[in-house]
């Protein structure tokens, strides 16, 4: 059975193809369109998935959209009505926005893909998150927790899933917190307040939190209150996201926390404002963790299950995930590589396969590499055209050469096989560097990533060596598989892992299994033989404001315009010539 899953229209559109119960292809639209967080209908992603699997639209048994769009419209209308007349400014915007493509999803899918309307299905937004988290996890039975900004009405759900011995599956979400009460919206509101873009800058808040002290928790708890049944509500007077299209926090929020940060203001942690911003970040982070933890503990008690599958955008918060693992009572916490809306494309398709069509459960690949591959020949051709130094090396020679370069302090763009599905670069589209010095972190932030100084970088380490350098609790290796948890760097190694150790002594570590990315694993070994530490700095292969690179040419253009010293795709190694040609060419035309 061939089922196409689609997520679209809000942020991070994606398509995924499930063939006979197993994801065969999945890619985010942004990787193909090159527009970060592309929210458009993911036609290119769909075409790629179908082409990759050799499937035509006529072969599809079902197309599944990741949420119920009319239910979402109902929520938008209802919220406008409930906040009448304060919503008069946002109402026209909300209606115009919703009545475009977003409501006519069935017709759009039918017309774009030419599939009969009877083959078009819908799942609930949080059901898609839950399916993406549960059906991709190597567990038979698990409690399920999903949390994000908002889907249709739900913002947080709990339930359980089971993959039976006979192949039958069940997934039931039993209760939910409904909009406007939302942990995701709470965090996003602080993201906007701290001057970062919503749906993009939340991880900056998490990074900034480490610089602050949670001195404002009481103030945060005035805007989010716990309810007697263990849930929570957001106090409406502090928020404007229901009534305003341009601002999510209210004057009362500003009275409580002080003036917001301007997006162009640098964060100076020596200044009182800078410290206040960091304290705000630390406080909302702490309250988010505490709230999630209470909910997870209750879920653990309720289900009695040792495993938790956690999905939704909030599951990208690695610090919270690590606390869930350490303190909730669950023995293992599974977070998929794409827990956000993009992952819903996979979730919707799997949900339909297992629950609508009642197909037998199948184990799914336990890795994120489901996107387009990289063409080393394309890189070699283009680089030669431009006068770059191009070498084709066999595998051992290439690994030795790259390890030498890394040990010498050079920065390497690393492209290998199929691109990752999800926001993390997990070794197929990565920028790699030596993790030892703070200077390397500063150089990467300044010359390549063009991002804030306070942002940390992540390490990658062979799974069997992870415990030597990082304090991983039981179950930590699993969480670190997809870089989903933040764990302490062992104190004795912090000075030698300065580029990947955050100010609070932690790191968002990736523990790499040989089977998941064998070439990177071998490179870690080669680097370890040179430096004595088989750890590399691994950051996504992109620059600020751009999606992670996909094709070789995109990696090449990124390499050409920033401080990356060498670029690898397959057996091809490209390095820069002594004299850049662009300057002389420019002079010729000036």
């Amino acid at each position: 059975m061939k089922i196409l899953g689609i997520s679209a229209h809000y942020h991070d559109s994606a398509a995924a193809l499930v063939v006979d119960g197993v994801p065969a292809a999945a890619v985010q639209q942004e990787r193909l369109s090159r527009h970060k967080h592309d929210a458009g209908f993911p036609l290119e992603a769909i075409e790629w998935c179908l082409d990759h699997a050799g499937v035509t639209t006529a072969d599809l048994d079902a197309v599944v959209f990741y949420e119920r769009s009319m239910l979402k419209l109902e929520r938008i209308l209802m919220c406008s009505l409930r906040s009448f007349p304060r919503s008069w400014r946002s109402f026209p915007h909300a209606i115009r926005n919703s009545l475009g493509e977003k409501v006519w999803v069935r017709g759009i899918i039918a017309s774009y893909l030419g599939v009969p309307r009877r083959k078009i299905f819908f799942t609930g937004h949080h059901a898609s998150h839950a399916a993406a988290a549960f059906f991709t996890a190597p567990t038979r039975r698990a409690a399920i927790l999903t949390a994000d900004g908002v889907g249709e009405w739900a913002t947080l759900t709990v339930g359980r899933g089971e993959r039976g011995a006979g192949g039958a599956s069940s997934l039931s979400l039993t209760r939910e917190i409904r909009f406007p009460h939302s942990l995701g919206m709470l965090y996003s509101t602080f993201t906007a307040y701290l001057g970062f873009p919503v749906n993009d800058g939340e991880y900056k808040v998490m990074g900034l939190a480490a610089y602050g002290r949670p001195t404002l928790c009481d103030a945060v708890r005035r805007v989010i209150r716990r309810t007697a049944d263990g849930g929570f509500t957001l106090v409406p007077e502090y928020f404007e996201y229901q009534t305003s299209a341009s601002r999510s926090f209210s004057p009362a929020f500003v009275d409580l926390f002080g003036p917001p940060r301007h997006p162009y203001d640098p964060i100076d942690l020596e200044s009182s404002d800078g410290r206040r911003y960091a304290d705000c970040a630390a406080s909302v982070q702490r309250v988010l963790e505490d709230t999630l933890l209470d909910i997870a503990r209750e879920l653990r008690r309720e289900t009695g299950l040792p495993d938790l599958c956690f999905g939704g955008g909030v599951a990208l918060n690695g610090v919270a995930n690590a606390r869930l693992l350490a303190e909730s009572g669950f023995e293992r916490v599974f977070v998929p590589p794409a827990p956000g809306d993009a992952g819903c494309a996979v979730g919707a398709a799997l949900y339909a396969d297992r629950l609508y069509f009642k197909n037998a459960d199948r184990d799914v690949p336990d890795h994120p590499f489901m996107g387009p591959g990289v063409d080393a020949d394309e890189l070699a051709r283009v680089a030669r055209d431009d006068g770059q130094r191009v070498e084709a090396l066999d595998e051992p020679a290439l690994l030795d050469r790259v390890a030498d370069d890394l040990a010498a302090g050079r920065i390497v763009g690393w492209m290998d096989g199929a691109t990752e599905f999800g926001p993390r670069a997990l070794g197929h589209r990565s920028i790699l560097a030596a993790p030892h010095s703070a200077e390397m972190r500063d150089r990467l932030n300044r010359d390549i990533k063009s991002r804030e100084e306070f942002r940390p970088f992540a390490p990658v380490v062979p799974a069997e060596d992870a415990g030597r350098y990082f304090e991983l609790p039981p179950g930590g290796l699993r969480l670190a598989r997809f870089m989903s948890g933040v764990f302490p760097v062992r104190s004795e190694w912090r000075a030698r892992l300065a580029a990947v150790t955050h100010v609070d002594g932690t790191a968002r570590v990736q523990a790499l299994d040989r089977e998941m990315a064998p070439r990177l694993y071998a490179l870690l070994g080669a680097y370890g033989r040179r430096s004595g530490i088989p750890v590399l700095l691994n950051t996504s292969f992109n620059v600020a404001g751009e999606p992670i690179v996909n094709r070789a040419i995109e990696g090449y253009s990124t390499y050409r315009r920033c401080g990356i010293d060498a670029l690898v795709a397959g057996a091809t190694l490209v390095t820069k010539p002594a004299v850049p040609r662009a300057r002389s060419m420019k002079e010729a035309y000036s």
Partner: protein, 241 residues
């Protein structure tokens, strides 16, 4: 047109707040335009054009940085708070050349478009440079950008003549006409959006009040905290509700 609008430009650049807003807006546009040209470099089959586009894109991205840093510097000097100037949550990643779909665009059309756009920008930036003579750092930024614009105008025209030797003048005229047409379309869309908003606002105040009363009443009845899930589980798989 820009010469005619010189008094307006003078008014805009005479105030620090407006100057900051203008510089930061330019930062976004230059960065987004740079990304588009970068994409052109990635998709063109012509190696020479790829190198030129790449150099051009690097310039545009650099201009974005210059504008952003200067805008932020002026903002700090001014000491104004954010709320007065910017309330939105700008998402990164938008594309400045939104008139042009880079994928599938023929190089000749793109070069003509870039040539016309660069020429227009150079004219405007010359005026801006003269108007900020009292602000040496900003003046210097425009000077630097204008030097780059010479390269951009020259290579786009030369390359257009190379790849489309018989029709390059026509391509330039078509690009000019296309810019005018797209401006008209944008104006029409803005007027349409304004009319739509006005209609929806009237609808909001005339039709919605009774429904608003009902919705608020229903909202008050909703329990705080957890809600059991039932309706969603019962919805048929083909339902959008």
């Amino acid at each position: 047109m820009d010469r005619v609008l010189r008094p307006v430009h003078r008014w805009v650049w005479s105030d620090t707040g407006r100057r900051v807003r203008k510089l930061l807006a330019f930062a976004e546009v230059e960065t987004d335009g740079g990304r588009d040209i970068l994409r052109a470099a990635e998709v063109t089959p012509d190696p020479l054009l790829r190198r030129l586009y790449l150099a051009h894109a690097i310039d545009e991205l650099h201009h974005g940085v210059l504008f952003r840093e200067r805008g932020a510097e002026l903002l700090r000097e001014r000491g104004g708070r954010a709320g007065a100037l910017f309330n939105g949550n700008p998402l990164p990643g938008g594309h400045g050349l939104d008139d042009v779909s880079i994928e599938g665009e023929a190089d000749a059309r793109l070069l003509a478009f870039l040539h016309v756009a660069e020429k227009a920008a150079a004219g405007r930036f010359t005026i801006y440079r003269d108007l900020v003579a009292d602000d040496p750092p900003t003046h210097a930024i425009f000077e630097e950008i204008l030097r780059d614009e010479v390269f951009h105008m020259n290579y786009t025209y030369t390359q257009l003549a190379r790849i489309s030797p018989r029709a390059y003048r026509r391509q330039v005229w078509l690009a000019r006409a296309s810019r005018v047409w797209k401006r008209l379309l944008r104006l029409a869309a803005a007027v349409g959006a304004l009319m739509g908003s006005a209609f929806l606002t009237v609808l909001y105040f005339v039709v919605l009040p009774p429904f608003a009363w009902w919705a608020r009443r229903a909202g008050r009845r909703e329990p705080a905290g957890w809600a059991p899930i039932s309706a969603q589980a019962d919805a048929p798989p083909t339902s959008q509700y």
